[in-house]
């Protein structure tokens, strides 16, 4: 009996589901659950991590991310405006900056700010300031590119209409173009915040006091002190998701509202 095209597609899909389910089942059956629970999901160790994992580590991750984002967004906006400027040296400067900081691993930038700056200028910055600079300057490169795409996506007629009403270039940008560009790039911008949240784990490179630990460092220390497997890191991972998943949901909400 010949199958119709649609029937074939349906059966093909069911086969895919079945394979996926079989794979998951195999993994579940093959895993060494008692060891896994003891080493990675140990309830006693989980209990030990509280409340510091929230009051210190989660809080610091949020602070570092926020500091980085504030600088990244302001510098990124500036870079995006420079990149679309009619003045060539501005464009060159912005391009050079973006290529440099987008091309380097964030880890190297952290090292440069943490150890390079003191070497070069005998300057020891406060840890929070160093974090802000390192995270902010890396994310500025990405945010700058994202915003430039957004600015260019706003139809040119919007700019012309603003100028025809007598607005200056800067007034047209501030009141008309930038607000529309932000709406366009909101999903991409959320992505940047999420990446930034995870990049904040690089702060460990700077060497810091217990009160400055963020999630990853806190988890790693937890492994050393408890000597009991991966549980502290698993918990830290869960805490990252607690930050990033609501961010994604929030962005989708705002996006929906903006479209309406």
């Amino acid at each position: 009996m010949a199958l119709t095209v649609r029937q074939k597609q349906t059966y093909f899909r069911y086969t895919q589901y079945a394979l996926l389910a079989a794979l998951a089942l195999a993994l579940i059956l093959l895993a060494d659950w008692p060891t896994l629970i003891d080493k990675a999901f140990n309830p006693q160790i989980i209990a030990q991590q509280f409340p510091q994992i929230i009051t210190v580590a989660l809080k610091n991750t949020l602070i570092y991310t926020a500091l980085g984002f504030i600088l990244g967004l302001s510098a990124g906006t500036l870079l995006a405006l420079m990149k679309i400027s009619s003045i060539a040296p501005y464009r060159w400067l912005a391009t050079a900056y973006i290529e440099l900081f987008r091309g380097l691993p964030a880890l190297l930038v952290f090292l440069a700010f943490g150890y390079g700056l003191p070497l070069a200028f005998g300057l020891r910055l406060d840890n929070y300031l160093t974090v802000m600079l390192a995270l902010g300057m890396v994310s500025a490169a990405y945010i700058g590119e994202v915003l430039r795409a957004g600015l260019e996506a706003v139809p040119h007629g919007q700019y012309e209409a603003a100028r025809c009403l007598g607005m200056s270039h800067s007034r047209a940008m501030i009141s008309i173009i930038i607000p529309q560009a932000f709406k366009i790039v909101l999903p991409a911008l959320t992505n940047e915040v999420i990446l930034l949240t995870k990049d904040s784990s690089l702060v460990y490179l700077l060497g810091m006091s217990l009160a400055q630990y963020e999630l990853t460092k806190f988890g790693r220390e937890g492994i050393t002190t408890t000597g009991a497997g991966l549980t502290p890191l698993v918990l830290a991972g869960a805490c990252y998701l607690i930050i990033t998943i609501p961010l994604g949901i929030l962005a989708r909400r705002i996006e929906k509202k903006a479209k309406a």
Binding site: E160, A161, R163, C164, S168
Partner: protein, 249 residues
């Protein structure tokens, strides 16, 4: 009738790359006049209109508008543009603002009017185009004809002395064209100086004080509507008009 020129254009040239679009245009528009620019697409009429407020920079020639030398290097462009409103084919309303904010923003930020004053003027002009009830809507909630009427109200809220219309009805559904034309007719009757690029030949016939027919970057024929549309002298004009009329009928 007074005849101070509102716009004087002398020997205007403009090319895009090696492609000349305006080849020496001379044109005078008197205050209170309604001038219609007609012609086939690619004839340079939109470019000519956009040169008047310097949305396009001419290569050579001079433009005087409302007593200011637009082509002078010393021109305060923002100040000059404040006095001339522009209406675009695709409306170009600001989609992130309400209808009312579209009409008040420039009044406040450019003219420095108070929020209250700007709002009053905006609502007056929205009432004039029959859309006072739509003040709190977003542009995306308007039909094309309504959007274009808001765009006219937005331009009028700046109290311009000259209005430029760039194919204001070309992007509209046929049934909403009439509303927009009615408002333009009313503006003309109030004595507004208007320059418009249009394909609405019957509107030009009824409202225009002067009609200019352009082709290939040059003015082929100009005169009263009766002369240019009713009794065209040049072969190009005759061909263009007969094609346009056949399309309509």
């Amino acid at each position: 009738m007074t005849s101070t020129p509102a716009v004087t254009i002398k020997n205007l040239h403009k090319s895009y790359g090696s492609n000349p679009v305006l080849k020496g245009i001379d044109l005078t528009v008197d205050s209170g006049q309604v001038l219609c620019l007609i012609g086939p697409s690619g004839s340079g009429k939109s470019t000519l209109l956009r040169c008047i407020n310097l949305l396009e920079t001419p290569d050579s020639g001079s433009i005087q508008a409302l007593g200011q030398e637009m082509t002078s290097p010393d021109i305060d462009l923002d100040a000059a543009r404040r006095q001339m409103g522009m209406v675009f084919q695709h409306f170009n309303l600001f989609p992130h603002l309400t209808v009312l904010e579209n009409c008040t923003l420039a009044q406040r930020k450019v003219l420095g009017r108070s929020a209250q004053e700007a709002q009053k003027i905006a609502l007056d002009n929205l009432a004039k185009v029959g859309l006072a009830d739509y003040a709190q809507r977003k542009p995306s909630q308007l039909s094309g004809g309504q959007a274009q009427r808001v765009a006219i109200a937005r331009a009028l809220s700046m109290n311009p002395s000259l209005m430029l219309f760039d194919e204001p009805t070309s992007a509209l559904d046929p049934e909403t064209v009439g509303d927009v034309l009615d408002i333009m007719r009313q503006l003309a009757a109030e004595g507004m100086t208007m320059i418009l690029v249009t394909h609405e030949i019957s509107f030009a016939q009824q409202v225009a004080d002067r009609v200019v027919f352009m082709a290939d970057g040059q003015i082929v024929e100009e005169g009263s509507a009766q002369q240019v549309i009713g009794n065209p002298q040049h072969e190009r004009t005759k061909t263009f008009l007969s094609r346009l009329l056949h399309q309509v009928n």
